[in-house]
Amino acid sequence: MQPPAEFVHWMFATGFLLLGLFLLAQAIVGDEVWRRRAWRAYLWPGLAFLLGILMWPVMVFFTNSTVHMLAHGSWAQVMMLAGGAELGLVRGKLHSRYWRLTMPLAFLVSGAAFLIHEQNTWYFARSAFLHHLIGWTMVVCAIFPLAAVFRPRSTLFRTGFALTFVVLGVMLYCDRDVAPIFGHLSSQAGTPHR
C-alpha cells in the first residue's frame, strides 16, 4: 500500500523545486510585476502550506523509527506555520513583518531535524552525506529569510532564499541510492531489493 520512501522524497523534491522557482521568478521580476495577477502572491506560501499538510501522512505512515516520525512531524508543522504566516501577511490578516521570522525558524528547525535524525557520519553513505548536507544547508541558509525580514527588497537575500529551495529540491532527488541517476551503489545495503 505504501509508496517506496524514495517516491515520497521525489514528490517533495518536486514541490520544493517548484517553490524555489516561484520565489526565484518573483525575485527576478520584482514584486510589482509578480503581483500584477493577485493570485500569484498566494502561489509560494500556498504551496509551502500544502506541502506541510502533505507531510502529515508521511509522518504517520512511515513509522520505522521514532526519530523519523518526529522529524517528519516537525517538518509538517513548520511548513504549515511559515506558509500560513506568509499567507496571512499577503491577505492582510497579519500586519507585523516579524511574522516572517517563522520562515528562518522553519529553516532552523528543519535543518536541526535533518541533522538529529541522521545517525551516521558524513562519509558513511551518500544518503548520510546528503542528510548532513541538507541539514547544514538549511541551518546556514536560514540567514537569507532572516535577513530578508529586515531588508525585504534586497535581491541578494531573496535570491539566496529562492535558491535554497532549488538546491534542497535537487538534494532530495539524489537522497536515495535507488535513484536512476545513481543506480544501486551500496554494498552495505546488500543486493538491490527494489
Binding site: 520512501a5 513509522t63 520505522n64 521514532t66 516520525m69 500560513g84 491577505r91 545517525q119 552495505q188
Partner: protein, 437 residues
C-alpha cells in the same frame, strides 16, 4: 584560487557518488509469524526479514509467554544476511511476545516488539509482555487530549450553533486562537500519547527508543486511531486556518463535522470497542458521551473566555442560547454515561470494591456538582435574563467555575479511560437435577 575551487567541486561531486545505503538503518519488512496474527499451530522458529543486511546477536530474538517465560533459543543469521532466525520450543495455546534487536550495517541497534497468538487472538502490541500499563504521565496526556478536543469541537460548535452571526474583531481573534489551539493541541498531544504508549510497549531506554520500530504499534487499534485522528485534525487545522484567512465562516462547518467525526477514534479504540459486552451501540454511546462533553465544556470555555471579555453585546443572547443547548447536551451525556456505566460495572458493589468503580464514583460526584451549578444557571439566571434583568456581576466568575469543574471531570474521565473495568461475572452453570426414571 581557481584550482582550489575545482578541487572542492570535484570532492563534493565525488562524495555524492560514494556508495550509499538505501536507508540510514535497517527496517523490519516481514516477520514469521506476522504481527498480531493468530496461528493454529506452534511455529518451529521466529523469523525476521529486514530490508538490508543485519548482524544477528545471540539474543536478537526473544520470545516470551504471557507470564514472561522465555521459549526461544539463541538467534542466528540466515544465508541471506537480511534474515534473522530463532528456534522456539513447542508453543502451547496462548499469547506470545517477541522482542527483537539487530545491528544494522551502519552499526546502530534497531529494536522492536510484536505479538502473536497460538490458537487464540494475539494481544495488541501495547499489551505485550513487559508493558507496565498506563502511567500518571499518560493520564495527564489523555486529559490534555480531552481538553484539546473540548476547545476545538466545543469552540467550533459554539461559534456555529450559538453565535451564528459575525463576531466583533477582538472576539473573532480570540475564537480562532481557542479553536486553533484545540486543533493543534489534538495533533501534538495525540503524538505524545502515541509515543508514551510505544515507549511502554517497547521497554527501551531513551536513546535506543528513538530508533525503535513503531510499525507494530501503528497496526493496533490505538495506532489506527492515532493515524486517523492525526490526519483528521491536520485537515481540521487547515480548514480553520482557511476560514480565518478568507473570512468564510462556512469553512468552519466541515471543520466542525470532521472534528466531531474524528473524535470517534477514541471510542473506536477504547473500552467500548474492546471489552466484554462491547458492540456498535457501546461505541456509539461512547462517542455521544465524548462529543456532548466536548461541546458542553468547550462551549462554557468559549462563553467565559471569548464572548464575555470581548463581545459584551452578545453576552445575554449567547448565554440564553447556550443554556438551551446545554440542556440537550446534558441529557445525551447522562443517558450515554448511565448506559456505559451499567455495561462496564456489572455489580453495584464494584463501585466501591474495584478501582474502576472508585474512579467512577469520583467522576459521578464531580458531575453532580457540575449539574447543580448548571441547574443554578438554568433555573435561576436564565429566567431572570429572559425577563430583561441586568447581567449579574458574578456571572463570569460563575461560568469560569463551571468550566473548571468541567475540566476536572475530564481529568477523572482520562484516568477512567486508562483503567481496567471490573471483570464481568461468569454465569454459574445450572446444576442438573435430572433424576433417573
Amino acid at each position: 584560487m581557481r584550482r582550489l575551487q575545482v578541487t572542492t567541486c570535484c570532492l563534493a561531486l565525488g562524495a555524492l557518488a560514494i556508495p550509499g545505503a538505501a536507508w540510514a538503518h535497517a527496517t523490519l519488512k516481514q516477520t514469521i509469524p506476522a504481527f498480531g496474527k493468530r496461528i493454529e499451530r506452534s511455529p518451529r522458529f521466529v523469523e525476521l526479514r529486514f530490508d538490508q543486511s543485519v548482524k544477528a546477536l545471540p539474543n536478537a530474538i526473544t520470545v516470551y509467554t504471557a507470564k514472561g517465560k522465555i521459549v526461544s533459543g539463541p538467534s542466528r543469521g540466515g544465508t541471506d544476511k537480511r534474515i534473522v532466525i530463532a528456534p522456539v520450543k513447542h508453543l502451547a495455546r496462548g499469547a506470545y511476545t517477541v522482542r527483537w534487536r539487530a545491528v544494522s550495517a551502519d552499526s546502530h541497534v534497531v529494536s522492536g516488539v510484536f505479538t502473536f497468538g497460538v490458537r487464540q487472538r494475539a494481544p495488541p502490541a501495547t499489551e505485550a509482555f513487559g508493558s507496565s500499563g498506563p502511567t500518571t504521565a499518560e493520564h495527564v496526556v489523555r486529559w490534555l487530549y480531552f481538553l484539546a478536543l473540548a476547545l476545538c469541537v466545543g469552540g467550533l460548535g459554539f461559534r456555529l450553533l450559538i453565535v451564528r452571526g459575525p463576531l466583533p474583531p477582538r472576539a473573532e481573534r480570540r475564537f480562532y486562537w481557542v479553536v486553533g489551539a484545540g486543533a493543534v493541541g489534538a495533533i501534538e498531544v495525540g503524538t505524545l500519547a502515541f509515543i508514551l504508549r510505544a515507549e511502554d510497549a517497547l521497554q527501551l531506554p531513551f536513546g535506543p527508543f528513538f530508533y525503535g520500530d513503531l510499525s507494530p504499534l501503528v497496526a493496533t487499534r490505538f495506532g489506527t486511531a492515532f493515524v486517523a485522528m492525526t490526519l483528521g485534525f491536520a485537515l481540521v487545522s487547515a480548514l480553520i486556518f482557511l476560514a480565518w484567512l478568507t473570512d468564510r465562516t462556512v469553512l468552519l462547518w466541515p471543520a466542525f463535522l470532521l472534528a466531531l467525526g474524528f473524535a470517534s477514534g477514541l471510542s473506536l479504540s477504547g473500552h467500548s470497542a474492546f471489552d466484554a459486552g462491547s458492540s456498535w451501540l457501546s461505541e456509539l454511546a461512547d462517542w455521544a458521551h465524548l462529543a456532548s462533553a466536548s461541546l458542553w465544556v468547550g462551549g462554557l470555555i468559549s462563553l467565559a473566555f471569548v464572548i464575555w471579555p470581548a463581545a459584551p453585546d452578545l453576552r445575554r443572547r449567547s448565554f440564553l442560547r447556550f443554556s438551551k443547548l446545554a440542556t440537550v447536551l446534558i441529557a445525551v451525556l447522562l443517558s450515554a454515561g448511565i448506559y456505559l456505566s451499567v455495561l462496564r460495572v456489572p455489580r453495584v458493589s464494584d463501585l466501591w470494591t474495584a478501582g474502576y468503580g472508585q474512579v467512577l464514583l469520583v467522576k459521578l460526584a464531580l458531575v453532580s456538582l457540575a449539574l447543580l451549578w448548571g441547574a443554578a444557571h438554568h433555573f435561576l439566571v436564565r429566567p431572570a435574563l429572559e425577563r430583561g434583568a441586568p447581567l449579574f456581576a458574578g456571572l463570569p466568575r460563575s461560568l469560569i467555575g463551571e468550566s473548571a469543574v468541567g475540566m476536572a471531570i475530564l481529568l477523572v474521565a482520562a484516568v477512567l479511560v486508562e483503567s481496567k473495568p471490573p471483570p464481568r461475572p461468569t454465569p454459574t452453570p445450572v446444576a442438573s437435577h435430572a433424576s433417573a426414571p
